[in-house]
């Protein structure tokens, strides 16, 4: 039996029935990793003995058989979320050798729900990138075509789930870092509303945009996992005191009468023809299922990338000041403390992180603050209003997740601006703070590469986002297709 191919709900059913143990499930996933990760490099760190010990403890406690939502389910975690006793390097040389001294809130929630915390997945350094090429430890490969990128920044999590190297995975999404790799690898990626899931223990990149979310093999799994992760956390002042619904219970209501907003600004030139055709066919499918299409406008879409790269870099330049060689990480000696900071940071950060720290510091520096950072924050207000006005006319917004399928390794790595523009459809959701999800909606033909449909919802209305995605998914079989890895 190929346990590694199962979903959370599929595996939980077998565990509940006592057909398999947490150890067997974990061993199956470890065997799969052993077989394919040499090609994919989705994982940065893995400790099979520790994973099996966790599984044994879960078996002994009875959590695998009882009603714990994730009892015995092996889950991978992006290398930016702290798991006590495991490394957390953010794929950066500056954190080489760092071992987490505490659990993130989401980690604690996973443990309480009975999950096996498998290992650490690859990413762009400090979550800055769209391809994992900015990892200091090598690029993850797309499971559908090993010469292509898996997307980013959570490319390791996306590739791991798509290749059945984990039953599910956690990632973080600051401008599309969950939805874009999910689309490019062919799995379901959910970025919850800003404030839905605690970020305590997530290494901060851009604090007004960062959100933890999930990679799963289907939409029901996203609903199950989101319920586990969500809720108020006194340790994160941006987490919101709202009740956590039973997301899975609301999935089956269908989409009859649901109003799908189609932003005219998202269906423009520059989009790959096959991507556009797949997305339009998906919208038609949702209409066949009873949804109504409403044309909407998000008039400031064209400014989103510029706003994002000023705000995100400004916040990053402040957040990354803590990596100075004093309390943790690599230290390069200097003549005095300022010299030590400069040498440590110059040696420890990779090119993209340096570029963003420079841009962010520049945008915040005296004489430029008003022209760049403050102006970007004002345009952010216009983008937020666009969404408020659009959601007065529709229940969810549907768009492509990415303008193209996975591109070749190296294709955009020398052109930062082109790389930034690959996030054009996902960035606005972070600026506006709304919920977003990517669900598989087809493939390109030559080569065969996954395409994602993005569903955006009102703040804290993940239920409707999941319901729309579920209805579509259940009427198609894209999510059941697997990459041709041996």
């Amino acid at each position: 039996m190929s346990l590694h191919t199962l979903t959370i709900h599929g595996l939980r059913e077998k565990l509940r029935q006592g057909e398999v143990s947490a150890r067997q499930a974990t061993q199956a996933v470890l065997d799969r990793i052993q077989a394919v990760d040499g090609k994919l490099q989705a994982y940065l760190w893995l400790n099979p003995e520790d994973a099996l010990a966790q599984a044994d403890a879960i078996d002994r406690s009875g959590a695998a058989k009882n009603g714990k939502p994730l009892g015995g389910v092996p889950i991978a975690i992006k290398d930016v979320i702290n798991v006590e006793g495991q490394p957390c390097t953010c794929a950066s040389k500056i954190l080489k050798g760092y071992t987490s001294v505490y659990d993130a809130t989401v980690t604690q929630k996973l443990r309480e729900a009975g999950a096996v915390l498998l290992g650490r997945t690859n990413m762009d350094e400090f979550a800055m990138g769209s391809s994992t090429e900015n990892s200091s430890w090598g690029t993850t490969k797309n499971p559908w075509d090993l010469s292509r990128i898996p997307g980013g920044s959570s490319g390791g999590s996306g590739a791991a789930v798509a290749a059945d190297e984990a039953i599910a995975a956690l990632g973080s999404d600051t401008g599309g870092s969950i939805r874009q790799p999910a689309a490019l690898c062919g799995c379901v990626g959910l970025k919850p509303t800003y404030g839905r899931v605690s970020r305590y223990g997530l290494v901060a990149f851009a604090s007004s945009l960062d959100q933890i979310g999930t990679f799963t093999k289907d939409v029901l799994d996203s609903a199950i996992l989101l319920r586990v992760l969500s809720g108020l956390d006194p340790r994160d002042s941006t987490s919101v005191p709202r009740p956590v619904p039973d997301y899975a219970a609301a999935l089956g209501k269908g989409v009859k009468g649901l109003r799908l907003g189609l932003p005219k600004e998202y269906f423009i030139s520059g989009m790959d023809r096959e991507v556009e055709a797949a997305v339009r066919a998906a919208i038609q499918k949702l209409q066949d299922l009873g949804a109504e299409v409403v044309e909407i406008s998000l008039p400031h879409t064209d400014y989103a990338v510029a706003v994002y790269y000023l705000i995100a870099t400004a916040e990053a330049s402040a957040n990354l000041a803590r990596f100075d060689g004093v309390r943790y990480g690599a230290r390069v000696r200097g003549e005095d403390v300022i010299d030590m900071y400069g040498k440590t940071r110059g040696a420890g950060f990779g090119p993209e992180v340096k570029r963003r720290i420079i841009l962010g510091t520049y945008a915040l520096s005296a004489g430029y603050y008003d022209a760049y950072y403050l102006r970007a924050q004002k345009v952010r207000t216009l983008i937020r209003r666009d969404f408020e006005q659009a959601f007065a006319k529709c229940d969810v917004i549907v768009t492509p997740t990415s303008p193209t399928a996975a591109f070749k390794i190296g294709e955009k790595s020398d052109d930062p601006l082109q790389m930034y523009l690959s996030d054009i459809f996902t960035i606005s959701a972070n600026l506006a703070g709304v919920a977003g999800l990517s669900v598989p909606c087809g493939f390109t033909t030559h080569p065969k590469l996954p395409i994602g449909l993005q569903v955006l919802g009102k703040p804290f209305d993940e239920e409707t986002v999941l319901r729309a995605a579920y209805a579509y998914e259940q009427a198609t079989d894209w999510h059941k297709q697997r990459p041709p890895l041996s």
């Binding site: 604090s207 000023l310 900071y341 040696a347 090119p351």
Partner: protein, 95 residues
């Protein structure tokens, strides 16, 4: 001239980050491209628009002023590059 390498060197100093001559030159060119791109924000009239700092519907989140346990010294020092007597060691700051 923001694209000057000397300007980049100044910003790098503000960021406490040493860059090589080659990095300065490359970054100056790339920053120039990016700044030319973000200049499109000047097309918009934002005179009467309030800035958005974050998308949370919350203001003034406070907790009770009570002592809570936190990470103890030994754990906090576990990843220290240099330590002694329960302290992080850094180069001398005051002459």
């Amino acid at each position: 001239m923001p694209e000057d390498t000397s300007k980049i060197a100044y910003v790098a100093h503000l960021a406490r980050m040493e860059l090589s001559e080659a990095e300065l030159v490359k970054m100056a060119a790339q920053l120039q491209d990016i700044l030319a791109y973000v200049a499109k924000l000047n097309e918009l009239d934002v005179a009467n628009v309030e800035p958005t700092a974050h998308a949370t519907p919350l203001t003034n989140v406070l907790r009770k002023d009570e002592v809570q346990p936190s990470i103890e010294t030994a754990r906090a020092l576990r990843n220290a590059p240099e330590q002694a007597r329960d302290l992080f060691i850094v180069p001398k700051i005051v002459e």
